[in-house]
Each structure stands twice: as C-alpha cells, then as structure tokens.
Symmetry: C2
Subunit: 160 residues, 2 copies
DNA sequence: CTATATTGGTTGCATATGAAACTATAGGAG
DNA sequence: CTCCTATAGTTTCATATGCAACCAATATAG
C-alpha cells in the first residue's frame, strides 16, 4: 500500500527569514535610536550623516551620502539642514558643481563625533559582546551577501 | 625609546553592526513589501497578522499577535480592521474576555493565505537561495541571540 | 458587593518617511 | 551660443507609525 502524503506548502512566520531580520533590526534600531537621541539629540539619519561626513575630511555631497547609505535624498537633506542649524555641519561650495555643496564637520561637529564614537562602540559591544570576532565577521558577510542579491534583483526588476 | 601610539577611537559606519543590520533589513523589507503589495494588496503588518492568525486555528487575540510580533497594538488594530473590512478575517467573541475577540481567517482569508505562502517561500528562496540550510540556521540563531540580549537589556532599563 | 486599578482595543494627534513636483545648475546636441 | 535633457537639492503633500488619551470590560481591595 502506498501512502500518499499531501503537503500543503507551509510557513512559520517565526522562521521566515525576512521577518526574523526585520524583527531583530527593529529591536536593535530602537535601542540605538533612543541611545543617540538621549545622549546627543541626534536621530538615526543625522547620526549617519555625521558618520559619513566624518569619514570624508575633504567633504562629501549629499548625493554621495544618499548613495552610500541608501537613505532617501529627502532624508539626507533634512538631516543635513538640522545639523547645519545646530552648527555641527558646514557647507562649502563645491567647485566641481554649483548645485551641490561639500559637507564637512564643523569644530563642534568634530567634537560631537569624537564623543559619539566611543558610545556607539560601547553600545555595539553591549549588544554583540558575546559574539566572537569570527561570528561578527560571519554575520556581516552574510548580510553583505544578502545585500548583493537583493540589489542585483532590484536592478533586474528595473530593467524588465 | 618608547613609541607612544595615540589611537582615537574610530568607527567605520560601513562595519558598524547596527547599521549593517538596518541596511540589509531595509533592502529585504522593501523587496518583500512591494511583492506583497503588488500581488495581494497587503502591507507587511497585514501579512503578519494573517500569518499569525493562520497559525492559530482556534483564534488569537490582537494582544497575543502584538506580543508575538512586537508590533504596536495600534498597528495590529489597524491591520486587523483592514483585513476584516476586506472579509479576510473574522472576529468571534472571546468567551474568556469580552473586551477582546478571537480572530480567525475567513474562507477567503484562508484561500488568500494558501496563495501567499508559496510566493513568500519563493521570495525567500530568491533571496536566500544561495544560503545552505546550515547557514540559514546559523543566521537565525545569531538573530535570536541578538533578540535575547536586546530584550534583556530593555527589561533591565525598565527596571532601573 | 462597591470602588479602584488594570487591561484590550480604538481614536486622535504628532512625527517620520518617501514620492512627486519644483528650482537651479550642468551637460550635451545642433 | 541656444535649446533640451538630466541631475542636486528643497519643498510640498500623502502615508505610515506610535504615543497618549480614551472607552469598555475585568480583576482586585476593602
């Protein structure tokens, strides 16, 4: 006698990778966001702009920031103007293109950045402290693999 | 002669784990969200509610859904009413507590769910197809470790 | 039993986010 | 050059999200 087993395709949300990813990220982002907000009055997009600008001592355009972080140009624009209003960021003319400016940290912005970095690293340590360096590298590698796949998929979709 | 090396704490946003996590999740969530939206007219919170309800054939309360998914009760409430408006979800009285209802899928809701699951799995396959089962398990395990740590941290903070 | 505190869920409001329209500058094509 | 198209950035508007206030039902203290 033959046993015919009908399997209905099934899914446990709890084990569904996009869900798990989102679940964890929300937890982490909330923790990070409230830490920055509380300690420095920065929102996440602002912190990101500060970080990217800090990594480009010769100045970056908003467009470059948006490209790198995949933040919407509106988000970058608002984060930048908030930072400029607080004198943490400076605009200097971009000799190569007058539509844009080069953003650099002001003295105050540099000081703020120097103050944030240790706290950011400490927070990362609090969360990932139990991960070995190998595990962290593994996690980052997997995330980057996913990035590459989804980005390729998106480009494909845009072509079609 | 002693070389004194001053190291300023430094951080590359690109290698900062909370950032990487958020970056990847945004990519994946956008892809998933547009797939569901396009194919079924569901937003992510709605899809999650459908999925959780499907896993509880005897009914679940909104509160239980919120607890499990960590979605805000407002988000759950709105997702549920949208689904009820579309006759995908039914409310039945909760004998144990008259403030809440037990949510179950309607016939149409069950049919929708059966149609979504294969697509959701296919999408997961598109994104994670190059991951072995071991790698997927590893990724999920890491994410759950992070969840546990952040949740513990949050509870601690609430106590303090 | 009442009176009070708590909890499930909804509604209202305030904020965050992104798409689309717009402005100003750049970069060709003729 | 002049015209046309494309791009950097801002503004406007529509939508998503979550906190706070609220209502109704429940649990607890006296």
């Amino acid at each position: 006698m033959i046993a015919l087993v009908m399997t209905i395709a099934s899914l446990r949300l709890d084990a569904f990778l996009p869900y798990r990813l989102s679940f964890t990220t929300n937890l982490v982002s909330d923790a990070v966001a409230s830490a920055y907000e509380e300690a420095f009055g920065l929102r996440i997009p602002e912190w990101r702009v500060v970080a990217v600008v800090a990594e480009h001592p010769d100045g970056v355009t908003q467009q470059a920031i948006g490209l790198k972080t995949r933040m919407d140009k509106v988000t970058v624009s608002r984060a930048a103007s908030a930072l400029i209003d607080r004198d943490l960021l400076q605009r200097t003319p971009n000799p190569a293109d007058q539509r844009s400016h080069l953003l650099m940290l002001s003295t105050a912005g540099t000081a703020l950045y120097r103050a944030i970095v240790p706290q950011a690293l400490a927070l990362e340590e609090q969360i990932f402290g139990s991960f070995t360096q190998a595990e962290r590298a593994q996690l980052v590698a997997m995330l980057r693999r996913i990035d590459a796949i989804v980005l390729a998929r998106t480009v494909q979709a845009a072509d079609a």
